[in-house]
């Protein structure tokens, strides 16, 4: 113990010990705070990704009418759709209230996008944003069974054009 005079109430040792304890508690709390924030961010990201993936699934599969001429023969063409999504709505895409959606086709705003989604991109200050991007086949003409089977078996398929659907979700 350091020397002290009579009547001195707090020694330097005591003050130093208190300072070290407060510092240690501060470091622990800071560490806990960082872990909590990281966990929260991870959950928000996971939630937005799930909603974006789900919405893009609904957009492609609900709209899939590529096999209209031969769907009764047991054909279901996944990942093929027209580029008109106007019959869809935000609540059909399972985008909950409080979340916004924006749909683009090949990089441009979908002219016939789902009802209830935004017509402009997410604001620059949107903090939590997720994007799901899916390639899909857009039929160039009414798809016949012969064209479909030709496209399965070999090259030179002109029945479809590969397009890109992007669904952006934020809140």
């Amino acid at each position: 113990m350091t020397g002290r005079t009579r009547g001195q109430m707090l020694s330097l040792d005591f003050l130093l010990a208190m300072a070290v304890i407060i510092l240690a508690v501060g470091v622990l709390l800071n560490h806990y705070d960082i872990l909590t924030t990281q966990g929260k961010e991870s959950r928000v990201k996971s939630e937005l990704n799930t909603i974006a993936q789900t919405a893009s699934q609904q957009a492609l599969e609900k709209n899939a009418d590529c096999a209209s001429d031969f769907s009764t023969q047991g054909y279901k063409i996944y990942g093929c759709t027209t580029s008109n999504f106007s019959s869809l709505t935000k609540n059909y895409l399972l985008v909950p209230e409080g979340f916004s959606c924006y749909v683009t086709l090949d990089g441009g705003a979908a002219a016939n996008g789902p009802g209830g989604c935004e017509s402009t991109d997410a604001p620059l200050d949107a903090k939590d944003v997720a994007v799901a991007e899916r390639k899909y086949l857009s039929p160039n003409t009414t798809l016949s069974k012969q064209d479909y089977e030709k496209c399965i078996t070999g090259p030179g398929c002109t029945a479809y054009t590969v397009k890109k659907l992007r669904v952006k979700i934020w809140r």
Binding site: M9, T50, P96
Partner: protein, 138 residues
């Protein structure tokens, strides 16, 4: 200072230690209560997201699945409500877990069947989290 006399420094140090420990104890008590609530809330959200994703898969691909919700870390009464009742304008999915709730509203389950019953026509279905049930496309 006379022999055997307790110094004022020691008394102050003891007092400070007691006050510090008391405050720390209250803080840790609150923290553990917050942590328990937070854990329940996070578990409810995890169940919600899992049920939401499963329903989305079913709806998109026309599947029928046996669905078992993920089990929360802390045991508590838990249920999942699929609400397709448009009359209250709040259709959606809600998870209740030990007093905490998490939900999504404004989503459409018209073509979903829970446990074989269709939700079309303003129907609702509530299932406990600890039981397996089927989610199918109507």
């Amino acid at each position: 200072m006379a022999k055997g006399q307790t110094s004022i420094d020691l008394l102050l140090a003891l007092l400070a230690a007691i006050v510090f420990m008391a405050v720390l104890n209250i803080y840790i008590g609150n923290l553990s209560q917050d942590a328990a609530q937070s854990s329940l809330r996070n578990s409810a959200k995890a169940i919600l997201l899992d049920a939401y994703a499963a329903t989305g898969e079913v709806k998109a691909y026309g599947l029928t699945i046996d669905y078992m919700p993920p089990q929360p870390a802390m045991p508590a009464p838990c249920s999942i409500e699929f609400d397709n009742d448009n009359s209250d304008a709040k259709t959606g999915l809600k998870v209740s877990l030990g007093g905490e709730t998490a939900g999504y509203s404004g989503i459409n389950f018209d073509d979903i069947k829970i446990g074989g019953s269709s939700l079309a026509g303003n129907n609702t279905a509530t299932k406990p989290c600890n039981e397996k049930f089927t989610i199918g496309k109507a």
